[in-house]
Symmetry: C2
Subunit: 241 residues, 2 copies
């Protein structure tokens, strides 16, 4: 099942080229090989430990980029955008753009598991980021190509006319923790003092009200409710698992 | 309230010396100054944005150290230990050891708020780590002194004869999210096939059973239950806020 070392190295070099990195960069090839080895292929030598490191690497890359590009962004919005950037969905999309799965060594059972594809891609992508980070102990082999993707997504989120960033971030969170979407209940207010109070939205997760907000449109009220909910979750989670 | 620049710089140099760093290292002093400025002193120019970056920096420092020192540690244990290392409690303890609060510029109202002291110290400590990271874009100004603290705590957790790491990690998590401790309910089993099943413990959070485990002692059963609970929370939180 494993590919002989010379072939494997040529394969990995191809990935490095796709990332736009030159052949001369100091890659720790044995780590990159491990990052692209699924646990079904080896119970001991696989990407799990690197993925653990990579989860911190990608978080730092996203934080540093946001800090540089949007120095005056309120911290709550930073956190909302970051949680979208480092979500399995975003990471799997980026990995897929580089055809990462064709470099992943895995048993057939894993490859046929379509339901697990997104998290598998995100996991090995995080491991690849860790292998690049550990090659130089900085983000130089990463930010040169990852910044473009993060910057584009961050711009989309920030320029979204509906400002749905908190809704999107909250949705990622509830889907990941509870496998359900949050539910919005909206009512039109009769007596209002200003236009901003025309609608009131409450966002619910199962039987728990996460937040409430008002706005001049249904969407604006929902976004306001999502913001309250997301920021309260963010405040509560000073210990991040 | 603010201190004139020459004095402030001397003050910050003192902190850098305490960290064991030489005077010649390329510190971005304006960032270190910001990292030690509380929001009560300036609503715009304070440590909040840096704290956002620092939360990723400290997580990476902990991950990289654990990966180097315990290369064969199961990933779940890595995660449990890391969540203790990056908890407000641990960070505040380390910051306190350097007398960090005497360098923090804050309004009197914040300084008198004893209840908020731990998270205030942890927050500005994360911001300080960000300012050091952003000075060189690597962890060289951080790991030279932080490794000792993390290594010592990680060793204590791993060598704890009761192996209470999952209990400790779970406790940090429930306290941070729900402001309560998890509750353990233990029963002695009558008919057992082996000694490992002498006790069964279930760990509850409010009305929700988080996990169950067995062991030859009450403590071992509790730890087994905490492990199940912690790992299931870890699996559910692929999106980390």
């Amino acid at each position: 099942m494993t590919i002989g070392y010379p072939n494997r190295k040529r394969q990995l070099q191809k990935l490095i080229q796709r990332l736009g990195l030159s052949d001369n960069v100091p890659i720790r090839w044995e780590l990159l090989d491990l990052a692209l080895t699924h646990p079904t292929l080896s119970a001991e030598a696989n990407y799990e430990q690197l993925e653990f490191v990579g989860d911190s690497v990608v978080r730092l890359a996203a934080s540093e980029l946001l800090y540089e590009v949007y120095p005056d962004c309120p911290v709550g919005e930073f956190a909302a955008i970051r949680s979208i950037l480092v979500s399995d969905r975003t990471l799997a999309e980026i990995a897929d753009g580089y055809g990462m799965s064709q470099f992943l060594l895995a048993a057939g059972s894993a490859i046929r598991d379509k339901a697990g594809e997104e998290s598998r891609l995100a996991d090995c992508f995080e491991a690849v980021l860790a292998s690049l980070y550990l090659s130089t102990h900085d983000l130089s082999l990463i930010r040169s190509w990852l910044d473009t993707h993060f910057r584009q997504r961050a711009t989309e989120i920030i320029q979204d006319p509906a400002r749905n960033n908190y809704k999107a971030a909250l949705q990622e969170w509830t889907q990941s923790h509870y496998k359900v979407l949050p539910e919005y209940k909206v009512q039109q207010n009769r007596q209002i003092h200003n236009d901003e109070q025309r609608f009131t939205a409450a966002v619910w997760l199962q039987n728990r009200k996460l937040g409430e907000g008002t706005g001049r449109s249904i969407k604006a009220a929902e976004q306001a409710a999502a913001e309250v909910a997301f920021l309260s979750l963010y405040d509560q989670t000073s210990v991040r698992i």
